[in-house]
Symmetry: C2
Subunit: 416 residues, 2 copies
C-alpha cells in the first residue's frame, strides 16, 4: 500500500511556516504499514492542485491532501476537487449542524461564509472534523482513495486516525518496521568501511540508512513484508551481529538527544543536577525537564538574568563581577558552585553571555558566552564565541554544556 502527501498553501512555499504536518503524517502512515512515496507542497491554485493530484494518482493507492479548506477566498481545494471529479457542491445537513453547534459552544454566531463550509461535493464521503468546522472529504476514483483534510494540525491528526480506520475496512496493509541504533565516537565514512562486508550481506528485506548528527551517528534499519514478528526478529539478529563488529562504538545510551543522555547518565550513576542560567534563560532546565522521568535527578534552576539577582539571590560575590565582568569564566564558575549549594545537587551547569542581537561591550562581541560545570571535585569553565542568531546561540551553548557534563558522567562508575 503506497501513498503520496500533498500540502496545499502558499505559506509553506514562501517559508512562512515549517511543514510539520507532513512529518507527522509520514510517521503515522509508516507505523501503520502505508508507505509514503512522495511529499509535495503546492500553491493555492487550481492548475497546480490538479496537476500534482493527477501525477500522484498515477503512482500510488492513496493521496492525502491537507490545506486550502478554510472559509475564505484564498482557499480553493474543495471547489477544485469537486470540479476534478466532475461533481457539484451540495449542502450536508450533518455538517451544518456540527458547524452551528461548534460556534454556539464558543458563544459566537456562524456567518454565511462559515455556513458555506457545509457545502460539500455530492460524491464524497464526509469524515467529521471534531476539532474544527471544515469537514474532511473522502473520494474513491478508479480504485484509488483521495482524502482531503484541513491543515490545522490538531484537526488533521484526528481525521487521519479516522481515515486509517476506513482504509483498514477496505485494504490489508503490509508491515513496515523501523529500528534506529546509535553509535558514538566514529564518523560515517569510517563506520561504512568497518561494516561494509556485513552491510553487503544484509538480507534484501532490510534497508540501511546512515544518519549523522552532531552528537552521534544513527543507523536506521527498515524492513518491509507481511510478517511483523519475523521482520522484527530479522532486524534484531542483524543488530546483534553488527554490535560484535562495532564494539564500544555502539552506545549504551540509545538516543540522539544530549539532554536525554544526561538524564539517563544521572539516573544510572545515582547523581543529581541543577542549573544557574543567565543568557540561556532556562533553556537548559527546559531541555532537561522535557525528558520524562527527569524529576528523579533534576533538582531545580535559578534563572538569574540580572546582576542584582546573581548577587542577592544566587549569592555570587559582587567583587568577582566587578573585577572580571558579568560575562566571565570567574562569574560562571561562582554561579555553578552556588547553584550546587542552593539546590543541594551533585552537578551544576551555569551560563552567562551575550546571546544577541545586541548587547556587545567594548571587550566582548555579540555571541560571547561563558559556561561552567561544577562537580563535587571542582569547576570547569569555558568561553566560546557563537556566531548565529539569538535562539541558535542559546541552543548551541546549552547542548555544548550538556555534552561536556555527559563526558564527565560517562567516566563515573555506575550504581549497579
Amino acid at each position: 500500500m503506497t501513498s503520496d502527501l500533498i500540502t496545499i498553501g502558499d505559506e509553506i512555499l514562501i517559508g512562512q511556516i515549517v511543514d510539520t504536518n507532513s512529518a507527522w503524517m509520514a510517521n503515522f502512515l509508516e507505523e501503520n504499514g502505508i508507505m509514503v512515496r512522495q511529499i509535495t507542497s503546492v500553491s493555492d491554485t487550481k492548475d497546480h492542485i490538479i496537476s500534482s493530484l493527477t501525477a500522484s494518482l498515477a503512482e500510488v493507492d492513496i493521496v492525502f491532501l491537507t490545506g486550502g479548506l478554510g472559509p475564505t477566498n484564498d482557499d480553493i481545494t474543495k471547489k477544485t476537487l469537486s470540479d476534478f471529479f466532475g461533481d457539484k457542491l451540495i449542502l450536508d445537513d450533518s455538517v451544518l449542524k456540527h458547524i452551528l453547534a461548534f460556534f454556539k459552544e464558543r458563544g459566537r454566531e456562524a456567518n454565511d461564509l462559515t455556513k458555506a463550509q457545509a457545502l460539500v461535493p455530492s460524491k464524497c464521503k464526509i469524515i467529521k472534523n471534531k476539532f474544527g468546522t471544515a469537514p474532511a472529504m473522502w473520494f474513491e476514483h478508479d480504485g484509488k482513495i483521495i482524502v482531503s483534510m484541513p491543515g490545522v494540525p490538531s484537526e488533521m491528526r484526528q481525521i487521519m486516525k479516522d481515515a486509517l480506520l476506513l482504509i483498514k475496512e477496505q485494504k490489508v496493509l503490509g508491515e513496515i518496521i523501523h529500528k534506529t541504533i546509535f553509535l558514538r565516537g566514529i564518523v560515517e565514512s569510517h563506520l561504512a568501511e568497518m561494516i561494509s562486508s556485513w552491510e553487503n550481506s544484509l538480507p534484501k528485506d532490510i534497508k540501511l540508512a546512515y544518519l549523522p548528527s552532531r552528537s552521534c551517528l544513527k543507523l536506521r534499519f527498515t524492513a518491509r513484508g507481511a510478517d511483523r514478528l519475523g521482520l522484527t526478529h530479522l532486524i534484531e539478529q542483524n543488530i546483534d551481529s553488527l554490535k560484535e563488529i562495532v564494539g564500544s562504538y555502539y552506545s549504551d545510551y540509545q538516543t540522539h538527544l544530549d539532554e536525554e543522555m544526561l538524564v539517563m547518565l544521572l539516573k544510572k550513576k545515582g547523581k543529581s543536577f541543577s542549573t544557574a542560567e543567565s543568557c540561556t534563560g532556562g533553556n537548559i532546565a527546559k531541555l532537561t525537564t522535557s525528558i520524562a522521568g527527569s524529576s528523579s535527578c533534576f533538582k531545580g534552576s535559578l534563572i538569574a538574568y540580572s546582576e542584582d539577582i546573581k548577587i542577592n539571590v544566587l549569592n555570587v560575590d559582587s567583587d568577582i563581577i566587578k573585577e572580571f565582568g558579568v560575562v566571565s569564566e570567574q562569574v560562571v564558575s561562582a554561579m555553578a558552585v552556588e547553584s550546587r549549594k542552593m539546590f543541594g545537587s551533585d552537578y551544576s551547569i551555569s551560563t552567562s553571555g551575550i546571546a544577541g542581537p545586541t548587547g556587545a561591550t567594548n571587550e566582548l562581541p555579540v555571541g560571547t558566552i561563558c559556561y561552567a560545570i561544577a562537580t563535587p571535585s571542582g569547576v570547569h569553565a569555558f568561553t566560546k564565541q557563537y556566531n548565529s542568531d539569538r535562539v541558535t546561540n542559546v541552543s548551541r551553548v546549552s547542548l555544548d554544556s550538556i555534552r561536556y557534563l555527559n563526558s564527565i558522567l560517562e567516566n563515573l562508575p555506575s550504581l549497579d
Copy 2:
C-alpha cells in the same frame, strides 16, 4: 524567476525528521526575489530523483536539490545527476585538498570513502562546502540551472548564499514583498465578511492570505513586480485603508508570539516579570528570554522541581503543600507570590502539575496542571486538564498562562 526545491532522503518520507531546510530555503529565495513554485520530497532512488527533476525542469528556471551526497551506499544523488546529464565523475583536486584539510583539522584521517567525495561530474561547477566535505554542484542545462547541495542545514545555508551570488551574476531577479499584519478578537470568517468589498478592490499585484492561529489572526500581503519601493508603498496604502475598516481588531502588538507580546506589553507599561516553575521546568522563562530585549523586563525564575526546593528555596509554607497537595491552586498561588518577593518583580507566573506521561495520583490524572499569576493587587489561580504528550502539555500551559497575563497587562495604562 521561479524555482523548485527537491529534498532527497528517506528520513523525511518516513517522518523521522521534519523538513526545516525547505522552509529556510523558501524564505531565503522569496526574500531575494525568486519564487518557489513547488517543494517535493523524494526517496533515495535513481528513478524517483530523475522523474521529479525532469518534471521540475519543465516548469521552472532553477531547481535546488538537497540531500543524498554523503559518502555511504545509501547516497546516490551525485551518480544519478552525472548519469542524467550524460556525464562522468572525475577527481577534483581542489575538493580533495579541502577534504584532507577538513579531516586533518579535526585530527582524523580521511579514508577512501571520504576521499571519493572529491569525485564530481566533469561538467558541473563546484560550490565549495565550507562547513563539510561533500561539495555542492552547479549544472546548467538547456538554459536552466540545477544546484545540488548536502542536506546538513549549516552546510546548505552557506552554499545557498554562494549560489545566490552566482545566480545574480546571470539573471535579473524580480521583487517579491511580503507583509503580515496581526488582528486580535475576531475570527477568520467574520473578518472576511467585514472586509470583502475592500478585498475585492485590491490591486491585482497584491495577493492576500488569511492565516489563523491560536492567539491571533494573521493577514499576509504579497506583491510581485519590478519596483520594490512602489510595491512596498502599495501594500502600506492598502494596510492603511484596511485599518480604518477593522478598527480596534488591528492589534497594537504586531506579533503572533504570545511571549513577544508579553515582552512588548511589559516594556510599554514599565513593569517587570518573573516565574516560579515546577512542571513547565523553565519553559516560560525560556520563551520570554528568547525575545531580544527581554532583559529589560524579565527579572529571573526559580525552577522548583522538587517539593524540597519549593519549601526551602522558594519559601512556600509546607503546611499548604500538606493540606492541598503540591498540584493545587493554593500551592501555585503561594509560589507566584513568593516569586514576586524573591525577584522583586511586579508580575509573576507559577506552575505545578503532572505533565506526563506518568505521575498520576489517586486524585489527579496525567495532564492536570495548575498555574497562577501574581499581580501587585492579588493572585489569579487556575486548574486545567491537558490531554496531549508531555512536551505539548508544557507548551500549552505556558502559553495559556502568558496569554492570561497579557490580558491583565493590556488593561493597564501605558507609560507614555
